[in-house]
Amino acid sequence: MRRRLVWRAARLHESRAETATARTLVFDVPGWPGHVAGQHVDVRLTADDGYTAQRSYSLAAPADGERIELTVETVPDGEVSPYLNEVVEPGDQVEIRGPVGGWFVWRPESKAPVVLVGGGSGIVPLMAMIRARRQAGSRAPFRLLYSLRDQDSRYFAAELRQPEAGLDIAYLYTRATPSGAARPAGRITLADLAEGGWPADFEPDCYVCGPTGFVEAAADLLLALGHPPERIRTERFGPTGG
C-alpha cells in the first residue's frame, strides 16, 4: 500500500542537453520511494511572491537511489519548461510529487514482447522502459518505433546508437531524412507498424506516447493491425504542457 502523495524538495544535481530544445535533468530527491518505468512526476515551481506553476513530466530512467532523471522539451511561450531548460542550475531547488501513474508502466517481470511507439518527446517514458529492461537483464523482446522531425531532434542519440540484444529500433522521420534512408519523410503509417512492430498474434504489449494527434493515429493503426485494445496503452502530451 502506497502512502498519499506529498510534495518533496528536489535539488538539481546536473543537466545535459539532448537536443537544441530539450534537456535531461538529474535531481536528488530525499525520501524518493522508487518508481516503475513509464511513471511520471508533477513538478511545481514557486516564485518568491508565492505564485506557482505546475506541470507533469515522465521519468526518463530507473531511479538511482534517491536520484531521478527527467527529460524536458522546451515549449515555446511555456512557463515551466523554459525554466527547466534555460534557468535552473545545479544546486537549485524545485518541488516534485510522485511517482504517479500505474497504467502506462512496464514491469521487468513481464515476459511478453513489447512494441514501443514514441512521437517526439513521447520517447521519454519509453526510454525509461528500455533502460529498465537493460538494468533488469530482461530478455523480453522490444521493438521501438521513434517518430521524429529530423536527426537533430533525436533524444538519447548516443545511447540508442549502441546495439543492444533484443532491442530493434526504427526511426520514422517526419520532415527530413538522413542521406541514404529508404523511407521517405512522413507521418507514421500502417506499413511502419507492420514492419517495425510485432505481429498481433505474438500478443505484444503496445505502448504509445506522444502528442494527442500522434497517439490517436498510432493507436488506430495498431487496432487496424489486429492488436486488441486492452494491449494498447497510451499516454498523451496535451496542449497544457509547457
Binding site: A9, A47, Y51, E79, Y83, V88
Partner: protein, 199 residues
Amino acid sequence: MGIVSRGFRGRRREGGDELPPGQYLVEDFPVLSAGPTPRVPLDRWEFAIDTEDGQTHRWSWQEFMALPMQTPTVDIHCVTKWTKLGTTWEGVSLDVFFEDVESAAEYALVYSYGGYTTNLPLEELLDGKAWIVHSFDGEELEPRHGGPARLLVPHLYFWKSAKWVRGIRLLNEDSPGVWETAGYHNYGDPWREQRYEGD
C-alpha cells in the same frame, strides 16, 4: 508556501489597483476547456429564454442579428487569476431579449451547446450588465472562445460568461451549474475574491 525556485517568475505580470485582488494581467486570451468544442451551424443555432411557468421565447440567428447591437468595452477576470483589460465585444444587451418576457423568477440557469451550465441571480443579467455577444475585437467570435455566441457578464468571474450559449432558464429556486456544484463560489464576485465555495 512551497520551496521557492531561484529565478522563477512565471508568466504573470504585476497587478495594479485596477485589478481585483489576487489577479494578474495577461495580454493574450487564454482558453480553458472542460470538453470538446461544440460546432454549432448558424442555420440551426437558436437562443431561448424559458420562463418559470413554461413559456419559451426563441430567437434564430437571423432574428438575433436584427436586434440593436452594442459594443461594450470591459475588463474580464478569470477565476484562474488572469485579468484582461479593455476587451471589446459586439452583441445584444439582455435587456433587449427580456423586453417581452414576463417573469417573477429570481434565479437564472444559463445553458450551452455542449452541456455547460452556470447559475446567477436574474438581476445580474439585467440593467445593462450582460450581453449575448457574437464578436470579439472586431472579429467573429472563434469557437474556442465561445462562438458563434457567448454570454458576457463581465462584473462576475468569467466562468459565468457561458461560451456557446443556448438559453436561459428562469427559476424560482437557485440551481447551481457545472462549476458551482464542484467547489466554485455560487456568486463569483472578483472584487470580493469569491473563488471557491466558502470564500
